[in-house]
Symmetry: C2
Subunit: 218 residues, 2 copies
């Protein structure tokens, strides 16, 4: 019985990482799409999101099967509950990537002229955070998950910086208000990607230590 | 054994509704705070959010206990999984309300002069959608949950309208760019409240029918 569950949990972990890999790919393509002004690659993000959505349903279905048939307890149960939550986060991260791709396409089509240096840094920082959150899940590494939680401050700082700069630009460059607004919205979507990576790290800590560190009360 | 689980599931439903009630209260207070320009009531939203966060942890803990000790299957298991997901949505809805309260306070402190008529309508429409999503959970009403899914279009339409109007105003009223931007962001937070209500309705359909209607593939 135990060995069946072990292999089912391994399968679930693999599927979760497959989904995480798709989210990472969607972030990379969105970034490259905006920075290199490639419209075609942005379409690819929509296709990836569909795969993410399919995987979400598949993972939930398999979690339900394991819960119903194997009746897991203790750390096995915590792992499954964490996978259910990580699954939800990854699906929403797919949505954020689609938003970024959509806003980027509009910016490119309007021939935007915003400076991309801070946005490039913010993309890099967010990607690293997402990657780190998935790595700590693979390696069941609680210390690494705690580090992920601290990475969020930097993502937030970039969002604030881009927000302030865009507002300043809006004051003089009223012809491109929509461009500056879209830029603010892209930064907000990246910030939310960071929030989801935080959730994943919190779920990893719960799965492998049993500690619920959400809302900083523990 | 069955009777113990029944009473535990009843408790979990009650806690979920208590949390839903707090989210509804937070929306009502945020609305009244902005529309009547009441700074004090906006502080109350932060206190409510803390209660929501505490309930989130309590509900997750109780779900884990029931899963570990009672080994539920079929509809009982689906109900618990749905409660775990609804719990996540309600907690995020608490965050949205805090965002709305924060943006509203800033608008009030700057003495904003935006027209509130569309925002009032959008608040009303979003509140109704959130209420309807909780009602269909209480009444285990799949047909009502399907109606909730259709309400999202109206919320989205208000967001688009407010977005376009604010961009128009920004073009001529450059002194109040931050006000118009905050207004856009409040509408986006309300839109996300609507998205969470959609998730809740989808979870209700899954819990009481077994059908996974997410991503419109079924």
């Amino acid at each position: 019985m135990e060995r069946i569950m072990d292999s089912q949990l391994e399968d679930l972990k693999k599927l979760t990482l497959e989904m995480g890999g798709l989210v990472e790919k969607a972030i990379t393509i969105s970034t490259a799409g905006l920075l290199k002004k490639e419209l075609n690659s942005l379409k690819e993000v929509h296709r990836i999101e569909e795969n993410i959505n399919d995987l979400q349903k598949k993972i939930d279905e398999q979690c339900l099967q394991v819960l119903a048939k194997q009746g897991p307890v203790a750390k096995d149960l915590r792992l499954i509950l964490s996978i259910i939550k990580i699954n939800t986060d990854l699906e929403r991260m797919g949505d954020q990537c689609v938003n970024v791709a959509h806003l980027s396409r509009e910016l490119i089509e309007r021939g935007f002229a915003n400076s991309l240096s801070d946005m490039e840094q913010m993309f890099k920082c967010t990607s690293e955070m997402v990657k780190a959150s998935l790595d700590c899940f693979v390696r069941m590494d609680i210390a690494a998950a705690e580090k992920v939680l601290k990475m969020d401050d930097q993502v937030d700082a970039y969002k604030k910086k881009i927000n302030l700069q865009s507002i300043e630009l809006m004051k003089t460059d009223t012809e491109h208000l929509q461009d500056h607004l879209d830029y603010i919205l892209i930064a907000r979507n990246l910030e939310r990607l960071g929030d989801h990576a935080t959730n994943i790290a919190e779920d990893v800590i719960f799965a492998f230590s049993g500690k619920d560190v959400r809302h900083g009360n523990n």
